[in-house]
Amino acid sequence: MNLFFQQIINGLTLGSIYGLVALGLTLVYGILHVPNFAHGALYMVGAFMSYFFMVDLGVHYWVAMAGSAGVIAVLAILCERLVFHPLRNSPPIHDKIAAIGILLFLEAVVQMFWGSDFRRMTSPFTGIMNFDGLIIPEQRLLIIVAAFVLVFVLQMFLRKTMTGATIIAMAQSREGAFLVGIDANRVAMMTFAISGALAAIAATLYAPINLVYPAMGHLVIMKAFVIIILGGMGSIPGAIVGGMIIGFAEAFGGFYISTAYKDIIAFGLLVLILSARPQGLFAKGAH
């Protein structure tokens, strides 16, 4: 029974990370209708930034996380300004190719500075909690709690503040948002900044139980895409629910079916679902 609960904890941890990454992706898609393939690279650079702050500058874990979130937010805004904004009227295939260009560039730059070695990032939360045989590492608990807090804060921001409401308005109807005088550029930049910061925080949370290396974003971003297709592209609750579905499917699949193939489970799920429902599980209508 304990093993079963252990898998629930694992599923929650994975689901939290995937959910955070997918949230950023879905926010950007909701506003600009761009599938940002570079999002995984932002996640990876976020982990390296935290690593850099902690190891080379010797700052505390939390400070490193905040610094990394800030850096990646700026980087994401730059991507929007320099790449996606000039392409806003191009055919959709161009956005995707440009996003791939950013991805390749960021990965190569990180590889140039840090090499392709696997690095271990330390965290102050190395303890292990033992609830009557159920073992929960502190870092995993931190991930789950942090994800829930972030999602809550983000929801509050989007629902209760004026600036947050402009993002929702843009996602609901571009023209309608223009009519009431919402500045599209500001909203786009803000969305990219939030999405980048979420990716950096997710990476910093996950890095201590995983490793830091230039290709670390590949699997995560692909799973995040699976998640937002599952949850409907542009849907915020969909990203969170989808993240949990994939997280649990992986934790239980990896434990009860096969560890070697656990990464395929998410993609297999996607193939199955899209074969049956080409518009995704929760999508209201195709764009």
């Binding site: 190719i97 699976v226 899209l274």
Partner: protein, 344 residues
């Protein structure tokens, strides 16, 4: 002057000149390695022509292309190294396997549009990579496949040597380009372009979207399989890295630099970039620092690549030379120009 040079390139003679250059290249090359590099550039060019069918002509961004390249390579590799087949039967099998798998993947994935299709094929490419990496009983996993048979010659030619192999690859490349040029002029090719320009409009003209898209997809994966099989016969050792998504991104770069949706673009882009990366060895590892921004700059400023840009420029030149043309005629010129671009 430049304009005349341009019109020269448009003439069929230019293609003959390029072919003649390719034919004498082994004699001009200073060492065997250069011939080898050129042969590998041709192999990649064949794969890029495949990508051009589905992405350039039909407008669907296929991110599993590198995966199908690897399937072609692995089919040939496993059949010759493990099952003991000889090269040419395994070669044909590689084409059939990639076509069949392309059909299966196409039927499922092409029901999805635009972003969904790109993301789906990205995942398919990754599944292919994971399967090759993890399914050790079949693919030997990360160890890779060794002792792949080389193509045996018919009669006097021995394809295990670099120069004869170069001509073999060249023959396949010429065939691929010839096929492409026939395709782009045919009703089928025009149907693909109609789908790219607007699938709802195409559908309203009575075009069966699904059938044509699947057709384009199968053709493109078969090209990838052909290139993969040739690649396996050339390097004789393959590993899971052949399915790495990076190869797909490389091919997209070649395609965009050369000119997406054009006939000479894939060749120019592939051969050009392969030689540039070869001559700047330090670029090999960090080539993406230049390729990444290059992709972005290309799609923002020159979305049609070298060939497309060149044709647009020629068109403007032609118009400024004959400014007296009536507006009515310029419309005709415009359609003609589009035709030329699709066939160039």
């Amino acid at each position: 002057m430049l304009f005349k040079l341009g019109s020269l390139l448009m003439k069929p003679g230019a293609k003959m000149a390029m072919l003649a250059f390719a034919l004498v290249f082994p004699f001009l090359a200073s060492n065997e390695y250069q011939v080898y590099v050129m042969a590998s550039a041709f192999v990649w060019a064949i794969a890029v022509y495949g990508l051009n069918i589905i992405t350039g002509y039909c407008g669907q961004l296929n991110l599993a292309h590198g995966g199908f390249f690897a399937i072609g390579a692995y089919t040939l590799g496993l059949l010759t190294a493990d099952a003991g087949w000889s090269f040419w039967p395994a070669f044909v099998a590689a084409l059939l396997v990639t076509a069949a798998l392309g059909f299966l993947v196409g039927v499922v994935s092409l029901r999805l549009k635009e972003h969904y299709f790109a993301i789906f094929t990205l995942c398919v490419g990754f599944i292919i990579y994971l399967l090759i990496d993890k399914w050790e009983e079949l693919t030997h996993g990360p160890i890779g496949v060794r002792d792949i048979a080389a193509p045996y010659g018919f009669g006097v030619v021995d394809f295990t040597e670099t120069t004869p192999f170069y001509y073999l690859v060249l023959a396949f490349l010429v065939f691929s380009i010839w096929f492409m040029s026939r395709l782009s002029r045919s009703l089928l090719g025009r149907t693909f372009i109609a789908i790219r320009n607007g699938d709802e409009l195409a559908q309203s003209l009575g075009i069966n979207l699904m059938r044509n898209k699947v057709m384009a997809f199968v053709l493109s994966t078969t090209y990838a399989g052909l290139a993969g099989a040739l690649y396996a016969g050339m390097v004789r050792f393959i590993g899971p890295e052949e399915a790495n998504i990076v190869h797909t991104f490389d091919m997209i770069t070649y395609l965009l630099v050369g000119g997406i949706g054009t006939l000479t673009g894939p060749l120019l882009g592939t051969v050009g970039i392969v030689w540039i990366t070869q001559s700047l060895q330090f670029l090999e590892e960090y080539r993406m620092i230049i390729f990444g921004p290059l992709l972005v700059i290309l799609v923002i400023f020159f979305p049609r690549g070298i060939t497309g840009q060149f044709l647009t420029w020629m068109h403007h030149k032609a118009q400024s030379i004959a400014p007296a043309n009536k507006r009515k005629e310029s419309k005709v010129v415009n359609t003609q120009r589009r035709e030329v671009e699709n066939n160039a």
